[in-house]
């Protein structure tokens, strides 16, 4: 593996209940992120998948210190972001950027596209006047928008175009690391493909590193080098994309993958049906947090919290059964391998 660009260590984020009066002791904090370790190498794409409420977006924001972690570290080029002064942080932010999900909410409707893309230059006093215009034009070129877009306003663009604007803004400061938080989820499939291609092209050309957060497993599979699966504030499995999708190890990953509809009507379906709903992050179960829904769970699972440990193929899994070999990792093909052959 190449040099590590950014790394989360024992990252924890609890949201405390708010209120001045009558704060009850029993009122638990929302344990959105509950001990996440994740190292991302330069120029790779790590996919972060999980169902809603699993804490994946919170992890993305913690990586950029848009949220203050409750505990843990975020090491970027050897420095812990948490320990940075506001001034230093402002400098670091040039290296770390984010692309958001909502193509409507992520652009200030009162600013022209030129002003939006040029704002990073204004904030960091990097370029003014004609120089700023030139740089904005270059960014527009980069994301495949006409230069004339600069004096239009966000409401005049379609969802895909807006997403390009958001990408251009994120790229303005020439960052190394980009968090894509559900960056294509709100787009129609035909447009989604355009943006995915754009992100891949940019990565190749600019040497970017991505943390690609999405609930859409196909998209994650498509774009990621490695994939981390989150469940209730924890990473339960982390592996190369190919390995993970071909042979998921963690019972949750298996269930998750098998829940995806097939790519073709004739595809085989042997679905591992998951019972019940995801528990609330207010009341995380004892032991393995997936145990209550896990069909393999044994007594140990309900009492002892499994750590994320490395097994074969350089993959890490947080499961007692996988770790002690009692649940074999089937070197099997994807359940949908019959499709579209």
């Amino acid at each position: 593996m190449t040099e590590i660009l950014i790394e989360a260590r024992r990252l924890v984020k609890h949201f405390e209940p708010r209120g001045l009066f009558l704060k009850k002791k029993s009122e638990a904090a929302v344990r959105a992120v509950d001990g996440v370790d994740l190292a991302i190498a330069a120029k790779e794409t790590v996919g972060l998948v999980g169902e809603s409420g699993c804490g994946k977006s919170t992890v993305g924001r913690l990586f950029l210190r848009l949220l203050e972690p409750t505990s843990g570290q975020i090491l970027h080029k050897g420095r812990d972001l948490v320990s940075l002064t506001p001034k230093e942080l402002e400098e670091r932010r040039r290296d770390l950027q984010i692309v958001f999900q909502d193509p409507f909410g992520s652009l200030n409707p009162r600013m022209s596209v030129g002003a939006i893309i040029g704002e990073p230059f204004a904030i960091h006093r990097l370029a003014k006047g004609a120089e700023r215009e030139r740089r904005v034009a270059r960014l527009l070129d980069l994301v495949g928008l006409p230069r004339a877009a600069a004096d239009r306003y966000p409401h005049q663009f379609s969802g895909g175009q807006r997403q390009r604007i958001g990408i251009a803004r994120a790229l303005a400061l020439e960052p190394q690391f980009l968090v894509c938080d559900e960056a294509v989820s709100a787009l129609d499939v035909s447009v989604q493909a355009q943006v995915i291609n754009l992100l891949q092209d940019l990565q190749r050309e600019l040497g970017l590193t991505y943390l690609f957060i999405s609930h859409n497993l196909s998209v994650v599979r498509h774009i990621s080098d490695r994939v981390a699966v989150m469940y209730l504030g924890r990473i339960v499995e982390l592996a190369d994309a190919d390995i993970l999708f071909k042979a998921p190890a963690h019972p949750y990953t298996r269930a998750l993958l098998s829940a995806i509809p097939p790519g073709h009507p004739r595809a085989k379906r042997d679905r591992e049906k998951l019972k019940g709903d995801v528990p609330s992050p207010l009341a995380i179960p004892q032991g393995c947090r997936f145990a209550p829904r896990c069909r393999f769970a044994v007594e140990r699972c309900r009492s002892e919290d499994p750590a994320l440990s490395i097994i074969a193929d350089g993959r890490s899994v947080a499961c007692h059964l996988v770790a002690d070999g009692s649940l074999s990792v089937p070197p099997r093909l994807s359940p949908h391998s019959g499709a579209a052959a």
């Binding site: 402002e90 409401h155 400061l173």
Partner: protein
């Protein structure tokens, strides 16, 4: 320069369209706004050019022409000083509008500052909002009457009283709006870019939180004119000989039966101005508030 799908670049871009122009065009297409705006504009023009338009001097006494009924000479009749009601009403618009505008400025500035501070800086929120709660719980009219009655009736005191009375609600509206906008992703994007609090607050949050404030301010304008009239009527408005709508009504109320025109016409004018402003506010709300839009 790249191997990207540059085909998007060829997609026809719509005409350059600033949100402000768009906004203006939509406003002009809004019937409530146009009617309200016209009513308000008429009163505004009358007020601004009162010296040129009013047929008489507003404070010219003529005790030999007291309480004359409306006639060709005095369209709205005269009051018990023998002053021309029409001229006083036209001049009265000037002061009433001035007071209304000042109250709007007062509540706009302080309401925005307090609302923005408590919406953005959560630490200030509790204390600021408790103070606003207290001010809101304090009966506004009584507050205004107390301030104006006891500190002496003057234009400044009326503005101060109404300003204090209207600010808490304005602050709440701005706060609510800020709370919504601060959760929007473009705010987070600005933070990710390293923007300062001030830049985020003014450039991003306030710029997008203004719509409810603007609507609120037109209603404040309307209610300030009503409240000013009420204070003048109670006898704690701007001191004489200042002509204000409420003052003229107050002057006439003792002769309500004998000379109804003294109270009738200024009241109607208040009604028209307030109606105009409310319509104006409705129009702005329809255009600014996307929930109501079809």
């Amino acid at each position: 320069m790249s191997s990207l799908d540059t085909n998007l670049a060829h997609e026809a871009l719509p005409e350059r369209q600033s949100p402000f122009l768009l906004f203006a065009r939509r406003l002009l297409g809004n019937r409530a706004f146009v009617i309200g705006g016209s009513l308000f504009l008429i009163v505004l023009v009358l007020a601004v050019f009162a010296d040129q338009i009013a047929p008489f001097k507003p404070n010219a006494n003529n005790f030999r022409a007291r309480l004359e009924a409306p006639s060709a000479m005095h369209w709205f009749g005269t009051d018990h000083f023998g002053r021309d009601i029409l001229s006083r009403a036209i001049h009265g618009g000037r002061l009433s509008l001035f007071i209304g505008l000042s109250v709007v400025l007062f509540t706009g500035v302080f309401g925005t500052l307090i609302g923005a501070a408590s919406g953005y800086f959560r630490r200030l929120d509790n204390i600021l909002m408790r103070i606003m709660d207290a001010l809101m719980a304090f009966p506004a009219i009584l507050l205004a009457i107390t301030v104006a009655a006891t500190l002496g009736a003057s234009v400044q005191n009326v503005i101060l009283a109404l300003g204090i009375a209207t600010t808490p609600h304005t602050a709440r509206i701005v706060r609510a709006s800020v709370l919504v906008v601060r959760e929007m992703e473009f705010v987070e994007a600005a933070r990710a870019l390293g923007a300062s609090h001030m830049r985020i607050l003014f450039r991003h949050i306030l710029a997008n939180a203004m719509a409810p404030l603007i609507v609120r301010l037109t209603y404040v304008f309307a209610s300030a004119i009503l409240a000013e009239a009420l204070l003048s009527y109670i006898g704690v408005g701007p001191p004489p000989p200042a002509a204000t709508f409420g003052g003229i009504i107050a002057n006439g109320r003792d002769f309500m039966v004998e000379a109804p025109w003294v109270t009738l016409f200024p009241g109607l004018i208040i009604l028209i101005v307030v109606l105009g402003l409310n319509l104006l506010g409705d129009g702005l709300r329809d255009v600014l508030d996307p929930r109501i839009r079809v």
